[in-house]
């Protein structure tokens, strides 16, 4: 198949058919007018020949739709560049050996779930002894001193603890993303660190279900980790990046 990467369209079963499925809710009562409103909404989204395949009354004047249409837009895939962590992932054993041999001293990592966020599932998966999906957490790494401060830690307290423990890296997890609260929290932490002249003293790393490396860089972090991250991914990055910074 000859695909023109400079002009890519969504795919159903034929190249460039633009096929796409969407679902959404409109705050209008179900009926013929609602169906037409959904169709017009799809047209404005750039979907040609939209067809409403499901319309459901959600009660209280809301209606849910499933639609199919043919998207008229294209994207130029050939010029896309996304910043990525270049670091190759090492195993638990490899990371520990690298730290021991090359860095020669243990790495201190301080981790927390900050702000009002009480969801520790992410930070626990990375830091707690047990780890996640068969990968040990950072607490288990003999060459890493990991401190999990838990949830609802104010940004200022996290930084204070990082200074007190002479941390090499700070891990911050944000799970609750309602009304973009995670962005506010993450931005505040970086601003605080900069204001106190701490930003360059330690690696600042964030993670969470709605975090990407790209977003992290944009917010002023050194790295970001999204869904599917395992403890050794984070450990590999920290060890290698510290080596780079110490020019080893």
């Amino acid at each position: 198949m000859n695909i023109d990467y400079s002009s890519v369209k969504t795919y159903g079963d034929t190249l460039n058919d633009g096929a796409m499925q969407v679902s959404f809710t409109l705050p209008v009562p179900a009926g013929d007018e609602a169906r037409e409103a959904a169709r017009q909404m799809a047209l404005k989204m750039g979907l040609d020949s939209p067809s409403v395949t499901e319309m459901a009354d959600l009660g209280a004047g809301f209606t849910f739709f499933v639609l199919y249409g043919k998207c008229k837009h294209t994207v130029d895939y050939s010029v896309i560049k996304v910043p990525k962590q270049q670091q190759k992932v090492m195993s638990f054993k490899e990371v520990n050996e690298l730290i021991k041999k090359e860095l020669g001293c243990r790495i201190v990592v301080v981790a927390a779930c900050t702000g009002s966020d009480a969801h520790t599932v992410g930070i626990d998966a990375i830091v707690n002894m047990k780890g996640y999906a068969g990968e040990y957490g950072l607490e288990r790494y003999p060459e890493i001193d990991a401190y999990n401060l838990g949830s609802q830690v104010p940004n200022a307290e996290l930084l204070a603890r990082a200074v007190e423990l002479n941390a090499d890296a700070v891990l911050v997890s944000q799970v609750v993303t309602q009304k973009n609260i995670h962005l506010e929290n993450l931005t505040e932490l970086i601003e605080l660190a900069e204001a106190e002249g701490l930003r360059d003293r330690m690696l600042m790393i964030c993670g969470g279900p709605r975090i990407s490396h790209e977003l992290a860089i944009e917010l002023g972090y050194d790295a970001g980790f999204g869904p599917g991250t395992l403890p050794n991914h984070v450990a590999s990055y920290i060890a290698a990046e510290l080596m780079r910074r110490h020019k080893i």
């Binding site: 679902s23 459901a56 966020d117 969801h119 993303t177």
Partner: protein, 529 residues
């Protein structure tokens, strides 16, 4: 509501009895000292029961104002009620007027003269009796509404709303009720569990949820009652009597006709790092209020499985359910009011994982035949793949109807992406309604092969739970929690938040509600071990 349950798992009744006895002894050991203490929130709950409401100019609730003043004067160890009753005798004012005078600074704690005990006791008991009658009236109203409503689904469909804005919550709650939900929970602002006061009035900003306030309770209750007029069904309202204000939130729920409360004996210690003593004392009074108000509690064992591995730690859920049951009985809760928690959280990639889920769910059903079990959906292993999540939720619903669960918290296909959209809830209700109807009597048709995978797993879980309860009985629950025996989380005995709010009771401590509530809810012998 007695569900006929066969012994499908071939459980040894001796083991079940042993587990219950050990859990009973563990609970008794806590109760050997719980009654020697009170807490700030216990006294604030008493203030609220006596009719104290509202907040001062800077937003401090009146209940906090009064308790703080009594603590400053060093007489909180007598309880709030004796001083309040003496003030009423001396000033001939209402409790609210006295609280307001304290807040304004026009009344000092020390200025209230002593009076004959029988005199202030009479005033205290009269007011307490009126408060209790008020709660009974709310309970009677619930019973009346439920009796004339159409019977609920079985399992009952439980959904959450979590907008952060109570007015938006009310819209979503009403829509959920119209879509067929039997139970609606308003998720709480993530930070509230660590507030040592209950915010006042309606609130429109919160993250991950909405503040639990009495006014917010009232607003959502009205929305659900409005929906009931259209649907002919009663929709249960749920909130959280958890965190640093367990008993106060129970009082608010009792006043505003909440039907269920998340109310676990250990959750705050493990997952919010709240002081052990504080939590054990608070849960006792909090559950007494729930018992009296006819509120069904939900326990939080599901949380163990999101932190630790669901397959490896399945027995900790069973052990904890036994402990929660015995503690709840000691607060006067009936088994029919105990929504003991568990969850469908085994890694879906596991071979025969579904069989293991069936074993655990059926085991809970057979061990606690009268409890309206609360079954929590998969969250840990679901990702942004909404199509796969929708299917896993269907499997979860199938296990639920097969094993006779009662309170089914519906899985959201967008779990791990965002707090539920209105359409996510609709789709989850559709999923559950389809499975529950389409497989309605599957449980009556299925027996498990003797010595097969499901029976073996269940027997193994019960044996492990027994061992764990035996060990906890030997070392005490506090030590077990110090060792991280639940959820892989270690908590120190004297650490955690809220420890300063624990006060040793004076020998003249008085709180009339303990007697009123406990006398009302005599627990049948038998289960009480």
């Amino acid at each position: 509501m007695i569900i006929p349950v066969d012994n499908k798992l071939n459980l040894d009744p001796g083991k079940v009895k042993l587990a219950r006895e050990k859990a009973g002894k563990i609970a008794d050991r806590l109760h050997a000292w719980i009654g020697d203490y009170t807490t700030t929130t216990t006294e604030r709950a008493a203030a609220r029961l006596m009719g104290i409401d509202g907040a001062d100019e800077s937003g401090v609730p009146m209940a906090n104002v009064m308790v703080d003043e009594l603590a400053r004067s060093g007489i909180l160890d007598h309880g709030l009620v004796p001083w309040l009753a003496r003030s009423i005798v001396a000033r001939e004012e209402s409790p609210q007027e006295i609280a307001e005078a304290l807040a304004a600074g026009s009344l000092k704690v020390e200025s209230i003269p002593d009076c004959a005990e029988e005199k202030w006791r009479e005033v205290a008991d009269k007011l307490a009796g009126e408060a209790a009658a008020g709660i009974k009236a709310v309970k009677a109203e619930r019973d009346r509404l439920k009796s004339k409503a159409a019977p609920p689904n079985k399992p009952m469909l439980y959904v959450i709303v979590a907008t952060g804005n109570v007015y938006e919550d009310a819209v979503q709650a009403e829509a959920a009720a119209l879509q067929g939900a039997d139970i609606v929970a308003v998720i709480r602002h993530t930070g509230q569990s660590l507030l040592d006061y209950v915010p006042y009035g309606p609130t429109t900003e919160g993250f991950g949820g909405t503040y639990a306030t009495q006014e917010n309770f009232r607003i959502v209750r009205q929305a659900l009652d409005r929906a009931a007029q259209k649907t002919g069904r009663y929709t249960n309202l749920v909130n959280y009597a958890s965190g640093l204000c367990m008993p106060e939130i129970s009082v608010m729920g009792a006043f505003e006709r909440l039907d269920m409360m998340l109310n676990d004996a250990m959750y705050g210690i493990l997952f919010r790092d709240i002081n052990m003593k504080r939590t054990f004392i608070d849960q006792h009074f909090s559950r007494m209020i729930n018992a009296y108000a006819g509120i069904i509690i939900n326990t939080g064992e599901d949380n163990y499985l999101t932190t630790a591995d669901a397959f490896d730690e399945g027995h900790t859920v069973i052990a904890s359910q036994f402990i929660n049951e015995q503690l709840a009985l000691r607060s006067g809760l009936k088994e029919e009011q105990m929504g003991l928690g568990h969850a469908f959280e085994i890694n879906p990639a596991m071979e025969d994982g579904l069989l293991m889920e069936i074993a655990q769910a059926q085991l809970c059903r057979e061990l606690f035949p009268r409890s309206p079990l609360k079954y929590m959906p998969p969250t840990k292993h679901v990702t942004g793949d909404i199509f796969k999540t929708y299917l896993i939720n269907g499997m979860f619903n199938l296990v639920s109807v097969l094993t006779g669960q009662e309170i089914q918290l519906l899985g959201m296909l967008t779990e791990a992406i965002h707090t539920p959209f209105i359409s996510d809830r609709y789709l989850s209700i559709k999923n559950a309604a389809y499975v529950f109807n389409n497989a309605k009597h599957l449980g009556e048709e299925i027996i498990f092969r003797e010595g097969g995978r499901i029976q073996e797993r269940a027997v193994f879980l019960l044996n492990e739970a027994c061992k764990m309860l035996q060990e906890i009985d030997e070392i005490s629950l506090e030590t077990a929690m110090e060792k991280g025996m639940f959820a892989d989380i270690k908590r120190s005995r004297d650490g955690g938040k809220g420890g300063t709010g624990v006060i040793a009771r004076h020998k003249d401590y008085y709180n009339p509600f303990f007697t009123i509530f406990m006398n009302d809810t005599k627990v049948e012998e038998g289960r009480l071990s």
